[in-house]
Symmetry: C2
Subunit: 263 residues, 2 copies
C-alpha cells in the first residue's frame, strides 16, 4: 500500500534518526539527499532520537562519519529536551542517573550530590550505573522534593548480550516508591514534541514527523497535533502497519522519497 499526498502548509520537519536516516552503521539510501533537499529549500528540521547513552556531539560525529552534513543544533534528543525543560522552569539543580557521555549535554546545569539541593532527578538508560546505591540516591532526592525527569520510558532494547532493560522500568520504580509521576521528555511524550517544536519556533500544525515506528513516531506525533509520514525502512513491518488503526498522512519507501512531496 502506498499513499502519496501533496503536503500543504508544511514549514518544518522532525526526522527520526535510527531507521529513517541510518540503520546500524550505514546511511539509508536517499537519506543524505533528503537532508540536502531540506537545507536547500530552507526548511527548518530537527533530527530526533530517543538515544540516551550518547551526547549530541557524539551523535553528530556518528552522522558526520556516515556522510551526513547536519548542523549540530539540528539534533534534538531527550537530554537536550531535559535541559530546555529545566531552563524554562527556572530551576537548574539536577541529580543525573545516566551513562555513556550523556552528562556532556548537561554542562550548563548544576549537578548536585546533596539530596536536599536537587530540583530534578534526571534518569535515562543508565546501564551499569543502575545500582541499589544510585537508585537510593535518586529516590532520596525525590523524597526531599525533587521532581523526576525521564529521558525516555521505553521498556527494553536488544543489546549484543541479549534483551536489556531501558530507562522505563527504573523510572517506574522511582514513581512507585515516591508516588510522583515522571515528566517524560523522550518520544512519544507530548512534552518531547512540544520542546522540539519550541526549539524550531514552529507550531504543531505546520510540522511533519517522519518515522519508522507507527506507534511512537506517527501515533505520538499525531497525539500532539503533528502530521506523520511513515517510512518503510528500519523497524517498519507491513503486517504491524496493516493491523494498526493509526493512519499516517503519507507512507514512503524511504525518506529519500520526500522529494516527491515537497517539490
Amino acid at each position: 500500500m502506498e499513499t502519496v499526498m501533496t503536503l500543504g502548509n508544511v514549514n518544518g520537519f522532525l526526522i527520526d534518526i535510527d531507521g529513517v536516516l541510518t540503520t546500524g552503521d550505514t546511511a539509508i539510501a536517499g537519506a543524505r539527499g533528503a537532508i540536502e533537499l531540506l537545507k536547500t529549500q530552507g526548511f527548518p528540521f530537527r533530527c530526533v532520537s530517543n538515544s540516551t547513552r550518547k551526547c549530541r556531539a557524539t551523535l553528530a560525529a556518528r552522522l558526520d562519519n556516515l556522510g551526513f552534513d547536519i548542523p549540530k543544533n539540528a539534533l534534538f534528543t531527550p537530554p537536550l529536551a531535559a535541559v530546555k525543560y529545566m531552563k524554562e522552569s527556572g530551576k537548574h539543580r539536577a541529580c543525573l542517573l545516566t551513562t555513556g557521555d550523556v552528562d556532556r549535554d548537561f554542562e550548563s546545569i548544576s549537578i548536585e550530590t546533596d539530596s536536599t539541593a536537587v530540583d530534578y532527578v534526571i534518569i535515562g538508560d543508565a546501564g551499569d550505573r543502575v545500582t541499589y546505591a544510585s537508585m537510593n540516591q535518586a529516590f532520596r532526592c525525590v523524597m526531599e522534593g525533587a521532581d523526576i525527569i525521564a529521558l525516555e520510558k521505553d521498556r527494553y532494547w536488544m543489546a549484543s548480550e541479549g534483551l536489556s532493560l531501558s530507562a522505563g522500568p527504573f523510572v517506574e520504580a522511582l514513581e512507585y516508591a515516591t508516588g510522583k509521576t515522571a515528566i517524560v521528555v523522550g518520544k512519544p511524550s507530548k512534552e518531547f514534541f512540544s520542546l522540539a517544536l519550541g526549539d524550531m519556533g514552529l507550531s504543531a500544525k505546520e510540522t511533519v514527523m517522519i518515522g519508522d515506528d507507527i506507534f511512537t513516531d506517527i501515533g505520538g506525533a499525531q497525539a500532539s497535533g503533528i502530521r506523520g509520514i511513515l517510512v518503510k525502512t528500519g523497524k517498519f513491518r507491513e503486517d504491524v502497519f496493516e493491523k494498526s488503526t493509526i493512519r499516517p498522512a503519507a507512507v514512503l519507501n524511504t525518506v529519500g522519497d520526500i522529494q516527491d512531496l515537497i517539490k
Copy 2:
C-alpha cells in the same frame, strides 16, 4: 478508646513479630507470656513478618535471644510462603534476587542460572544485590516464560543510612518491563494469608491476626476474611487509628492482654 470482646470460634492465631512481640532489640512487655499462654492452651499459631533479608533460622535465633520459646515451624515469612507456593504449583526451578541469608530458606528449591530453565523469579528486598546485571537476569528469565514471585511489595524502609528502597519498586520495574503481574506472597496479600492459614490447616473464619499496623495487618487480614486484633505497641498511632475506617475486632494495649480474651 478500648474495645474488649469475648472471642468466639477462634482456633488459631497469626501474630506479627515486629511491633507486637519485639521492638528494636527488646521483647515487648507481656509478649513472652502471651506466646506461653497460646502454647499452654494448645492454640496453633504462626509468627509472621515481612522481613525478607533474614532466613527463618536467623529470625528464630533472634527470638531465642530475646527469651521467646517459639518452635521454628511457627515462624512464617514470605520466603517460606514462596517455597510453599512453588511446591503447591509443582514447579521447582527459581532465580533468586535476594540478599542476606534468605537463600537458606530456598534449600529445597532448584536455583538456576540459565534464564531458559526458570519457573519463578523470586524477588525480595535485595539491597546491594540490585544491579543492572541482576535486574537484566531476572528480566530475561521472565521474558523466557518465568513468573514473578514478590516476597513483598513495600515501597521503602528506614535504614541507618537513610530511607532505602524495599523490594516493591524493583518488582514494579520487572512488571513494567515484562507486562506480567507479580504473585505477592508477603503481607498484606491474600496469597500470604492463604498460605499461612494452609500452613496451620485452619480456615480464615476460625483465625485471628494480631498486628500493630491498622492497614497491612488488620485491613489485610480482614480482606482475607480473618478477624484482626490491633495492639497499641510498635507503629500504632492513635490518630491514624481514629482516622481509619478499618475497625478491628478488638484493640489491646499489648499482646499480653490477649489473656483477657481467651481465658
